[in-house]
Structures are given as C-alpha cells and as structure tokens.
Symmetry: C2
Subunit: 625 residues, 2 copies
C-alpha cells in the first residue's frame, strides 16, 4: 500500500460521513439491573410473568362475593359472616363461601370464592358479623392478576434508555439482569516527549507541560457513553509508539491519539496505519482542528485529534462524540442552543468552517450577549471561559456587533455566568468571588477591565487608578498595601524604590495592563521629580523594569525561585509565599459596575459580599476596606 | 417524648421546607481527577504554577532576537546565523546571540536571548544561514510563561461542576486530586413481608410481589447525585425492622423507607423515631403521595415514602431529589417543561394538590397533546407510559379537552413517542414496533384502540373486526391463526369449539375488549345457529367462558400452569410456549391510522415496517401477511 496523498482538506460533512462509516459498536452485553442506569436496551423485553401474579386486594377491608352485596346501602347493609383473615405475603387458608367474608389487607391475595373487596371504611364489624354498607360489582377493590402487565406483553423495546422509571418496570417483572448495548471502548494515547501526566513532576526548564488531553478526552468519552482507557504516555520514539498504538487497537473499538504534531510522531502513525489498516481522511477544513486523521489500525477505528486542548475537544465534540453515542445506542442529546447578540465585532479570514468558542452574558434587560473567547488554541483557559460554540460558515468575513448568532451550548444546563467581570487579579477579589454563584472574572488588568466595561461586555470592572467611566457606578472597593517582594529576611537589605534605581538588583515588573504597574510608575515619577531627573532614564536604570509578567503573584514567585532579587507585589502575596516585603504604599482598588446591570442577581450578590469585606478579606495582610 | 399528633395534612410548601431543614450534606472529600466527572468543587482552586511554565514556541521555526529582524521583508530578508536547535521536551543548550537564530519546534522552550519565533514558512535556510523574510515584534510566535494561567490566579471557584472542560484546566495545572462535595449517602429500606428482590423466586400464591421501589429509588438517588445503599429487605417484624433502621441511620445521611403501609410497620417506624429522634411531619396534602413521613432517626434524616411505585417516585422527585442535589452541591437542573393541549377532559375531586402523570403525543400539525396516564397508583406501567407530570392545584375541578397545560418532563431529553398506538396485543406487532424508534403502544384491545383513535389521542389503532372509523385510513395488516391452546400433545383430544360446549373442559377466555373475544363469539354464534340454539345458552355451557383475561398469552399460560384445559389464543403463542393447538380459523388484524397523522415520521416508519412484514414476522407460526 502506498501512502495516500491528501492534498485537499475534507469538508466537515465528508469528515462526519467518514467517521460514521467506521464501525465502533461493540457486542451487546448483560448488566445487573442495579447497575443499568443510563444503559440502552439491546433487545426487546417481554413480560415473563403477570403483574400482579395474583388477584390482589387494593384496599384494606373484606373480601366478599359481590353478589352478596347487591342492593346493600347505608340504610340496609348486607350482613356477612367473618370467615377469617388474609394478610399481605401470606397464602390464603380460607375460602369465601356464599354469605361470608374474609378480612384482607392491601396487597393480600383475594381468597378463593371472593370477587371483590369492600374498604373497611364502608363496613362495621360486630361479634364476627360484618355489615357492608355499600353494593359492590365484581372486581371492585381488586387488581386482577396481569392487570398491570400480563405475561407475554411487550414491556420495553430495543433502544430504550434505562431511567429509574424503566428500572421500576423491570423490577416489577422480576428482571435482575438486562441485555444492553455495549459501551464502545475508546483507547486514548497522548503523544509528545514533553507531556507529563497530572500529578507527576514537571521540569519546566526542559519544556515539559502537563498532559491536558488524556483526562479531558477520557472524561468526554465517558460523557458520550463510551468506556475510556488511557494508555501509557507515548513519546515520539518509533518503537514505543507503534507498540502502544497496536496494543490499543487490539483492545479497543476506537483509538484516539492527540498531542504531538511533530513530523516524526505523525510519521509513526502513518506507518502503523499503512502496515495494518487504511487511512481514510487527512485534514478537515475547519478551525480549530484542521489536522484531523481518520482511518483504521488493525481491527480498530482510528481518529487522530489535534494537539491543542481546545482544538482536540472541539473536534471530539463535533465529530467523534456523535459516533460514540451512536455506537452506544444513545440518542443525540437535545441540542441546547441560545440565541444572542454579538457583543463586539469579530473578523474571520481563513475561508474555513469556524467553531468559535463563545461566552455568554446577560445585559441589564436580560438580553443575551455573545462574545468570542479566543486566546489562541494553545490556551487551556479558553476551555472554561466559553459557554458554547458559534458555527461560522467559511464564507462569513465578520460578525458585526449586535448581529444575532446562535450558540450551541456545551451542555443543556450551561447558563451564562451570574456575574461577569474583568480587571485586576487580587487575593481579596478571589475570596469575594467565592461568595457568588457562577461568577466569571478575567484577570486581564485594570486597563483591559475598563475597556471591556466601556464596551458593554462585562458587568463589572475591578480597577486601580482612573475610575471615571461613563455609565458606570462604584460598587465598593478596598485598599491594598504594595511594595517590593524580596527573599525571606530581605538579604539585600532593600529599603525602598530608590534601591532599584541605585543598586544592582534584578527586578521583575508587572505588565502595563496591571494597575500595580501604574501605581509603581506614579511613585517613580515622584522619585524622578525629587531627583530632578527624566523618568524614562530612571526606568532604564532599573534592571528588569521591562521584564513584565501578567499576574499578581508572578513577580514574587520569580523572587522565590531565585530568578530575581525584588518583584513588584502585594504584602499579602509576600506573606503567603513566606517572602520578605518592603512596603511602598497603599493603593485603592475599586469595583465599577455597568449602571444598567446593577439589578442582576450576581451583581447584587457581589455587592453584598463587598459589604461583608472585613469578614471575607480580614485575614489578608495589608488589606483595609 | 409523647407521640406527636398530625391531624392536618401539611401543604406541599411546608413539606418542602421541612425537608430542606434536614441536614443531608456530608463532609467534603478528595477524588482523583480522573474520576471527578460530574462532581462539585468543595473549595476554590488557585493555580500553583504558571501555564506554560516557560516561554514556549507556538510555531515551528526559528527563535530570534526581534530587534535583529527590524525592517526585514520579502525583498530584503534579515540573515541570521543558525546556532543550533531546540525540540519540545528538551532543555535548550544554546543561547541566541545578536545576529543568531536557533531552530525550534512548536512547544519547545524559547532559548535564552531570543524573544520571538519566526514561522518556518517565512524563512529560507542555506548553509547555516537563515533568511528571515519578515519583521518580528518581541513576543511574536511565543507564548510567555504564565500567559495562559499564572501561579496564584483563581482557576475555579467552589460549587463548580466538573465537566471535561474543567478537567482540562485542572490537568494543565497538574492537579491530580480535587476537593469535592461529598455525595450524600442515602439508605433505602423497603418494608413489607410480601416483597421479593428482583431475581429472587416469587410465590404468587402467597401474594408475593417483586420489590419495585428499592432499585427504582436507588437509581433515582444516583441520578440526583447521591450514593444509594440498599439494606436487606425488612419484613414487618419489629426487631428486624428496628435493627435495619438503626443500622441505616448509623451509616447514612438520609434514610428512605417505602413499602408496607401496614399499621404494624408504621408503628415500628414511629417507635424508632420516638426513641432516637423526632417526627417532623406526617402526611402531605398531595396526590399521589399523601402518607409521607419526615423526621430524624438518631443522627440521620428520615423520610418515609409511600409504597406504590408511582407515588414513591413522584414524592421522591418532587420533594426529596432537590434536597439530595442541594446536599451534593449540584444545581437544580433546568426544568424542562412542555406546553400542550389536553387531549381529553379530566376531572378532579380530591381537593389536594395533584401531580398527574401525563403522556405526550404530537398531532398531525405538530401540536403537542397531553393525556392523563392514570391506571391507579398500584400500576407500574404508569411509570413508563407517562412523559412527565402536570401539577393541578387543589381548587381545580377539571381540565377540559383542548385546555392548555404545562407538563414538567421527567428529564430534559424526554420527547413524545414517535408513534403512539393502542389496540390489540400481538406477537407480530411487538416485532414491528422494534423497527420504530420510540414507539408507545397500549395493549388495551381493539375496542379501546378504536375509541382512542376516534378521540384523537393516538396515531394508530391495531384492531380486529370493525375497521370503519371516520378520519382513519388503513396502513396495512396481517392474518393470524387462532384457536384453542391446549396442553402439549392435546391430552383431552380437543378437536373444535363444540368440545368446549359439550364436554367438561375448563376454559379461559379473553376480555371483551380483545378482538379475539369478538372472533370467538362470532364463531360460537354460528355454532348456535347450526344447533338452532340461543347463543347465550351456549356461552353458559362453557365452563370458564366468563373467566376473561386481558393479554394475548394469558389464557395459554393458564393452560401451561394446569389451571385450565383450553384457552383462547394464537397458534404463535401455543408454539412459543410449547403447548398444543386446535385451529379454529384466521382473523384479520388491521392497522388504522389517523389520516391527519400519516405524515409523522413514526407512522411512516411503521408503515415501512408493515411493508416488510414477511421479513419481520416470517418466523411466527400461523401468520400470513
């Protein structure tokens, strides 16, 4: 077999059909009824017995011959001789002769001779004689054998998903083991020398990263009704990888690989496919996800997923999950979609079908706004910052702000966040957000926080410095002590900002988006004025002034790891990490809210948390509300 | 403590509040990430490391100093000396000096000195010199350390439900074990001497029935996020039951009992509650479900469910499941509701809040019709014949046909059956229905089948005899051979219907709703005419002519069990059960469809199955399409 050439990318429909042509369905199996929740019946179940299996008293009372009560009423009760009693779970030892009755409890076998049961409330008993104050028809108060289900009746059909209700009916039939569709076994192989399983030791200096796809895809396989098997992490070594691929193909209905995009890894996969199977499709015209492979390895189906987590999960959800559900016999879930208005304009230029991860937010009127979540396919945070996907056809060049789009939610129970904010990243804020159900906050710094609030995307902005935004109101805020984070015990004896300028200290700054960066620059401007110097010159005297990191703990962590002598940070961070701290001042953090959204439950919950700030942030050093 | 008296039934809101006041929430626990799907975070997770942990090449190409490429373009490329290579997963052993570049693959550590990566497509390499045909800015082609997630950032908040997306983010953070809300442990005790676990031997003559509630409620507990524990079936014996209740209360956050309504069983429960806890509520003004108990046994919450399966599951779903979800930290699912028109008029008179099980069916225009499913609380088939519940307030006396009602679906993915039929119960029909996705058929006999089709409730009716219904068309049909089912080998040498009249044979008939009963009566009328006799006299000469059973196999099964010498039935049934058969004729079964619904997918699928009848029913003896 010569290697196939796939010069053109397949369109999404062809990819779907190619995957549908793979046979993933395992043999049916048998499971105990107790463990059958969510499983799918493989074949019809007919009743093998009558339910109930006997003529059953459906009230507490007396079993009678209905004919003996004809004409009876309150004024003229029928008088019957009490011949005995039958309780639930006991075989009757008496018969009901003409003129007699037998006491029965609900669920008891109606004794021979009787054809009705009168409820105790319509009777009186005195010295072995029961007065029946109503006339009965045959069958009154009795559930006849087979009246609920009769032996031979069709009870449940093939393809039925077993919920508590079906399990109830099967229990009634005495079935304790049911024939169900097998769950397709899906082998998952992450490739790439740089991957380490979560929990393992990571050597970042060697470029190692944690393996995101294995657990993510395994969990998604299980959510789609498959059984996931993780194979030992395969590096790019030919022999090891080939052996893992062959082992997985032997064991599984479907093998999924993801991870390495290195030429050598792809080459191994091609060769194993060539040796044992067939390559059906290589590359699909979608974004993200272009480098998808579909084929067969030995007797197993094979799909190669892209390496980036967002791409891998998008391709899995769009193309693979439907095939897994089909193989498991599960119906496609009701597709949950939400219609909303684009919050911002978004451009496209690839000429490929695009699956745009999108977040949702409700504005003050309850209108759903949709914003793109695009941090590059390499970002794992996109996984949780999106609520669903907007399908953008290849010929669409842009989506305009205000344009109506349909979002396919990741699951029907996805709801927009109750509170959506952006801005500073702050330890007190982290605790405040714990008080709100379903908050979403993007720690993008004050500048970006202000921009998103102005654009009408977010509900709140958490900022330092300029808090004067049209249409925004202040919900509250706090002061935080900032300064230089230094190694524990302050070994360099740093005493203030001038040491950064005057001494050979390796410094780590924050990015210009961060509020703290602005506060630092303001302080340095004042130092420059004191020294009658140009502030830019002062900046350039600081070794590492341009070495700017994004998040509030990052500079302190560089100090802790010995990569810097001083970092811009908060007292709270220094104390949390067991480092020294040189105070430089306090700065005000303010929470601004879009005035039209202060009525949202999440905004109100956050405002209440702010009122309770001393309790929430009280133990944080350097904080003052 | 004296026994509390609860003379008045609690209203539903009080019941809900009383249950909400019980504390079911277990301690948080820690689970491996791999098994965390669907669990709920107990506390916030902040990032403990940067993702990526190093400055990472995001394209295949060359790491450069951006300043070296300033001004470069296609016409005037920058020429850089190739100083080495760095691959993913390897620590760089080279630096990038001014005028140099280093080959890097996607995911590799950007080597010291470099601040950008140019993609290979914008370069040419020749003899150790790389021409860069574009200008780069610092950061191009690089994902900086912490750009995705920075150490110290808030990653996920408490209360987050873990889906594949959150598991992806946690994988990226290297977390392999997560603090999650505990799943409340719910002990389930079914009481009643007559109950047998599914799979056990049933003695119907002693009034034994299979225990429906244990597995049903256990499955429903699991669906609500709890962990179900089944306790050995407790009879009504005081000591045994007390010991099981105390054991369950010791082990579990909540104990549920259901089953026996016998006074003695309730008495035991009262006494254990009195000895160890508190009775908070007894009886609630709802139907079904009045006899609900709420209280505490020792340190555990206790709820007594009604015994009938439909009542038990309704009360569980309405009152208990929300408390289990709350304890597990799970959000209430989006309530799936459907609005539809009542297909028939339904009366109420109890003056209690009613939870009416309801089925759905789409009419020819796609309008959703709602019909009550009420076969008495003792019927387990109601469990699967309903799609949801209509809440009917206590003061509503009736719902009129055509009145708009809201149905709360059992789950959001419930859909109306694709085909809804009623009428004959037949082995060929059972197989035909297997060819249709989501069919629902009620084996209520020809007469009831005709009535429901005329009422506009069902899509099809499966009938013998009169097939002339206004607005109905015939989809197809088949002939089936009927006669007398007798013991194997026909020991009584029965030869035709006249033996029933002339000899002492114990006969079992079908109910008058069944088509076969009509066919038998027609045959006997003709026999009566031959003999010049009154047909009623002929009927009364047959021993058991009035002993009528509902389903098509039921008479044959009475013959097999020795309770009868001959039963009305089909050749197919006789052969299936290994019995003898005395043919009496063939009868036509016809499938009638509501003419306005022939366009429904399910009706069309059934029509196609009918076209394929020889293949579907071919192996059934006595059938002829």
């Amino acid at each position: 077999m010569s290697r196939k050439q796939f010069r053109d990318l397949a369109d999404p429909e062809t990819a779907r059909e190619t995957i549908a042509s793979l046979d993933l369905a395992p043999e049916p199996t048998e499971v105990p009824l107790r463990e059958a929740r969510g499983r799918v019946l493989a074949s019809r179940i007919d009743a093998e017995l009558d339910v109930p299996g006997f003529d059953r008293a459906s009230v507490d009372g007396y079993a009678v011959r209905a004919a003996d009560t004809f004409g009876a009423d309150e004024a003229d009760p029928a008088e019957l001789e009490l011949a005995g009693a039958v309780h639930a779970g006991v075989e009757p030892s008496v018969e009901v002769a003409i003129g007699e009755c037998v006491e029965v409890s609900t669920g008891a076998v109606v004794p021979p001779g009787a054809d009705a049961v009168v409820m105790v409330e319509r009777t009186d008993e005195d010295a072995g004689v029961v007065s029946v104050r109503t006339a009965l028809a045959p069958g009154d108060g009795v559930m006849f054998a087979g009246a609920d289900v009769a032996a031979g009746e069709r009870a449940l059909g093939p393809g039925t998903v077993l919920t508590p209700r079906e399990i109830g009916l099967l229990s009634a039939l005495g079935v304790d083991s049911v024939p169900v569709r097998g769950q397709p076994t899906v082998g998952i192989i992450s490739t790439g020398d740089e991957l380490v399983r979560p929990g393992g030791d990571l050597d970042s200096s060697a470029g190692e990263i944690y393996d995101v796809n294995s657990y993510t895809i395994a969990t998604a396989v299980e959510a789609a009704g498959g059984e996931a098997r993780l194979y030992p992490h395969a590096g790019d070594d030919y022999e090891a990888m080939e052996s893992v691929l062959r082992e997985a193909a032997d064991d599984c209905d479907l093998v999924l690989s993801s991870g390495s995009t290195s030429a050598s890894a792809v080459d191994v996969i091609y060769r194993v496919i060539e040796d044992t199977g067939e390559l059906l499709l290589h590359g699909v015209a979608v974004k993200p996800g272009k480098p998808m492979l579909v084929g067969r390895i030995a007797d197993s189906a094979y799909i190669g997923l892209p390496g980036y987590p967002v791409s891998a999960l998008t391709i899995f959800r769009t193309f693979v999950a439907p095939a897994v559900r089909e193989a498991a016999g599960l119906p496609e879930p009701e597709t949950a979609t939400v219609s909303g208005e684009m919050a911002v304009r978004e451009r496209y230029s690839e000429g490929r079908q695009r699956y745009m991860p999108a977040g949702l937010v409700a504005d003050g009127d309850g209108t759903t706004l949709v914003y793109p979540v695009d941090k590059g396919s390499g970002a794992t945070t996109s996984l949780v910052e999106a609520d669903g996907v907007v399908s953008v056809p290849p010929d669409v060049e842009y989506l305009d702000a205000g344009e109506r789009v349909t979002v396919h939610l990741f699951s029907p129970d996805v709801r927009p966040p109750a509170l959506f904010g952006a801005g500073e990243d702050d330890p007190a804020l982290s605790r405040l957000l714990d008080r709100v159900d379903r908050p979403r906050h993007l720690g993008v710094g004050s500048r970006q926080g202000r921009r998103r609030l102005r654009d009408g995307v977010t509900d709140i902005a958490v900022v330092t410095g300029d808090a004067d935004i049209d249409g925004a109101v202040t919900l509250g805020g706090w002061r935080r002590q900032w300064g230089l984070v230094v190694p524990a015990g302050n070994p360099d004896d740093v005493s203030d900002l001038s040491d950064l300028v005057d001494r050979e200290l390796r410094f780590v700054n924050r990015t210009t988006d961060s509020g703290l960066r602005g506060t630092l620059e303001t302080a340095l401007e004042s130092l420059a004025a004191d020294r009658d110097r140009d502030v830019a010159g002062l900046f350039s005297d600081i070794d590492g002034f341009g070495l700017a990191v994004r998040a509030h703990e990052s500079p302190a962590r560089k100090v802790r790891s010995g990569d810097a002598d001083a970092g811009l940070g908060l007292r709270a961070t220094a104390e949390k990490l067991g480092l020294g701290f040189v105070p430089c001042g306090t700065e005000q953090v303010q929470v601004l809210a879009d005035a039209s959204r202060t009525g949202k439950d999440g905004v109100e919950a956050f405002r209440q948390a702010l009122d309770d700030l001393p309790a929430v942030a009280g133990s944080l050093p350097g904080y003052d509300s």
